[in-house]
């Protein structure tokens, strides 16, 4: 009888300890590609759970709209995968908190001292081509001057974050002449897709010769497929900087855990997982620690970048230049 009681008590304690140990759940809102089986999500989850004694759960989808829809009642503790071109709206919503992470480890090509958003990876918008079929382009001008039978596929700036980055890139390079530049590119544009996936699919299927993607895209082909035929055209005018960010939610129930995760984002452990799962440059890892394949990737000499206020201000105008030139 006594033994039974003891056993029951032991079980109870064990359960309590178990419940306590896993009582905390860190809910991370992430884009679909991030949380999927083939994205960085699962390995990052495993690495963080090994040190936090918590349960990390991703909720995937369109991060910012979902956060805004849910408002103050959101379940999210951390959001990840936002891009600088939309952070103004996120910041002004009042739903996000400032972080306490130490940004000194950052290895970005630009200065970064934001108190709300922590970068976790970056790349640059770039046009990818098959180097066995094309010689490539050493400048934006060269692309615009290319014969019209070179077929380019891009993404819609109204529905795709990479498409938006492209119109800002064109704006950064051509300024007031952006619409004229678009008009020169227009005959070469095969089609405009809703998202990155459809465009890249058209490119790998051979339907398009050139696709709007990122400077890091060839790394996937080199490392995962041992295919050296895909190259990013490096333009002398420079490339638009594309950085993805994480932020802590103001109304989080687990502020300590959220802070812990924000700090974790900048650790070498997290950062070393980024290149071969997210297929982009880590934000806080010296270049000599990048995997082979990434170290050799050609990097643009000039990096163009609009901070969020400028991006928000230019956005409508840049999209309109694109729309009106391509609607002709």
């Amino acid at each position: 009888m006594k033994r039974t009681l003891l056993t029951v008590a032991g079980l109870f304690c064990a359960t309590a300890a178990f419940a306590d140990g896993h009582a905390k759940t860190l809910t991370v809102y992430a884009p679909d590609y991030f949380g999927s089986e083939w994205g960085p999500g699962p390995s990052i989850e495993a690495a963080f759970e090994a040190q936090c004694d918590c349960d990390l759960v991703y909720e995937t989808g369109n991060v910012l709209p979902r956060l805004l829809l849910e408002g103050q009642n959101t379940n999210a503790d951390v959001v990840i995968g936002l891009n600088t071109d939309v952070t103004k709206q996120a910041r002004e919503s009042g739903l996000l908190a400032s972080h306490s992470a130490d940004l000194s480890a950052l290895t970005l090509p630009i200065e970064w001292d934001d108190d709300m958003f922590v970068p976790f990876n970056y790349s640059h918008t770039a046009f990818i081509y098959d180097n066995t079929k094309l010689d490539g382009f050493d400048s934006f001008e060269a692309l615009l001057d290319a014969p019209d039978d070179v077929r380019v596929v891009i993404q819609d700036p109204r529905t795709s974050i990479s498409g938006l980055a492209l119109v800002l890139w064109v704006n950064a390079v051509y300024g007031d002449e952006a619409e004229a530049a678009w008009a020169r590119l227009a005959p070469k544009i095969l089609t405009v897709t809703q998202g990155w996936s459809e465009a890249y699919g058209l490119f790998t299927d051979g339907e398009a010769d050139v696709v709007l993607s990122f400077t890091t895209s060839p790394a996937y082909h080199i490392i995962a497929e041992e295919d050296l035929t895909k190259s990013a055209a490096i333009f002398e005018e420079g490339h638009y900087f594309f950085v993805e960010l994480a932020a802590k939610v103001a109304g989080t129930d687990n502020p300590d855990l959220a802070d812990q995760f924000m700090a974790f984002v900048l650790t070498p452990e997290f950062q070393s997982l980024i290149p071969t799962t997210n297929w982009s440059f880590p934000a806080a890892l010296p270049q000599d620690q990048w995997p082979a394949g990434f170290q050799e990737l050609p990097q643009p000499r000039t990096v163009l970048f609009y901070p969020e206020d400028a991006a928000a201000e230019l956005r409508d105008e840049a999209i309109e230049a694109w729309r009106s030139a391509l609607s002709q």
Partner: protein, 509 residues
Amino acid sequence: MAQRAVAIVRFIPGFLTVALVLGLTLGTLVAVIVRAEGFGGLGPGEWSAIRFTLSQAVVSALVSVGFAIPVARALSRRDFWGRSFLITLMGAPFLLPVIVAILGLVAVFGRGGLLNAILASVGVEPASIYGFHGVVLAHVFFNLPLATRMILQGWLAIPAERFRLAASLNAPVGPLLEWPMLRRTVPGALLVIFLICLTSFAVALTLGGGPRATTVELSIYQAVLFDFDLGRAALLACVQFVFCALAAVLAYVASPPAGLGAGLDRVVTRWDGRWAGFDYLWIILAAAFLLIPLGMVLARGLQGLLLVDWPVLAAAWRSTWVALGSTALCVSMALALALWRSRWAQVIGVLPLATSSLVVGTGLFLILFPFVSPRQVALLVTLIINAALALPFAYRIILPAVRASLDDFGRLSAQLGLSGWARFRIVILPRIRRPLGFAAGVAAALSMGDLGVITLFAGEGQATLPLLMYRLMGAYQMDAAAGVGFILVTLSFALFWVFDRGGRVRADV
């Protein structure tokens, strides 16, 4: 005349169906409007999107139906080996997931596709799929099977005696028999296809070639997910409803709703149309147009099949049970509506076609979020929305059979005291088995292929096959995505076939 005495009792399933459909369509819209605190305004971009949407939907509907008429006519009067299988198979594009279909179309009509390879070999300038005509081409690809079935149904409904009579009188069949039949069936077919094209946008975007091809649905997508301007989204959704209502009124004025092709095995014996070659040319053209892109998708997917691993199988399992649940719900709702003899049933039956799935998803999100975590109900919500979206098709498929069973046996049933569940089980159900099986097959395949609202709700371990396909594409794994596409097409079609077959086996009708 006997309807008063044999009146259908307003029963609970009918009420539930109406409540569910209204809640999902108008209720979600209201939720979005409330959250947006009113309507937003429309800019010049939105107005041009409205114009483009309308014009492409009108042209797509006209072209689909225009081509469907000779194809249906040819199929109605020619019998050949494999005819019934061909009719089933030609229905496949309608059941295809959009992204899969686009890849197939590009493989045939794209710049590097089969068509241009053939053109190049005979020294003709390459043709481009991208632009207004590309959007129309894709919509015709999706909707030609539907239009063909609806019109073929009309042809087969003309009693053989009439053709005999016309032949004996040496009267022209066209103005005497076919024109009145087309006048009855064509408006309904035009309406359905117009509505489908009104709310489709993934297609338009990829093949549209640029911002000229911006649809209302795309503008809604932009407003909700990119600008977070729910007021504008709500207003655009209302615009869609208005167009839907106008189109519906026009079509109903022109003719009562047509049935939607089940049981098309019969061939009408006719004494006109001696040029069989002309008919076979139409059949071959239509079959090639519909089946070659499908074949390309499957061929491309075959290579990727080796890359498929366990998350895909898990997603396939998930998609299958969501599709089965969705089918059960959809068919039950369609039956409830069909048994409810009211004009309102027809309005409810067409309403889901007019909705923007993104607004439905967003509205539902707003309604559910205060009570449950969206992640916990992701698959259930997907199941319910898929059922509602397939309802217009299932309803139209079974409606004529339900009506016929009531017309033929309503008096006998009343006389024998068969009512309620007994009448449904003994009189109606056995008599509508074939269309019911067909409707269930369509509902299952549509649910299987629909990406739908799962993207708004899904958490870890909840991906359906179409979502998985997008995720693979998003992770550069295009070959594996094609493999998933293969599985998706095969499963969709297998489900369709099983249900369709199940309805036919030992059906004494």
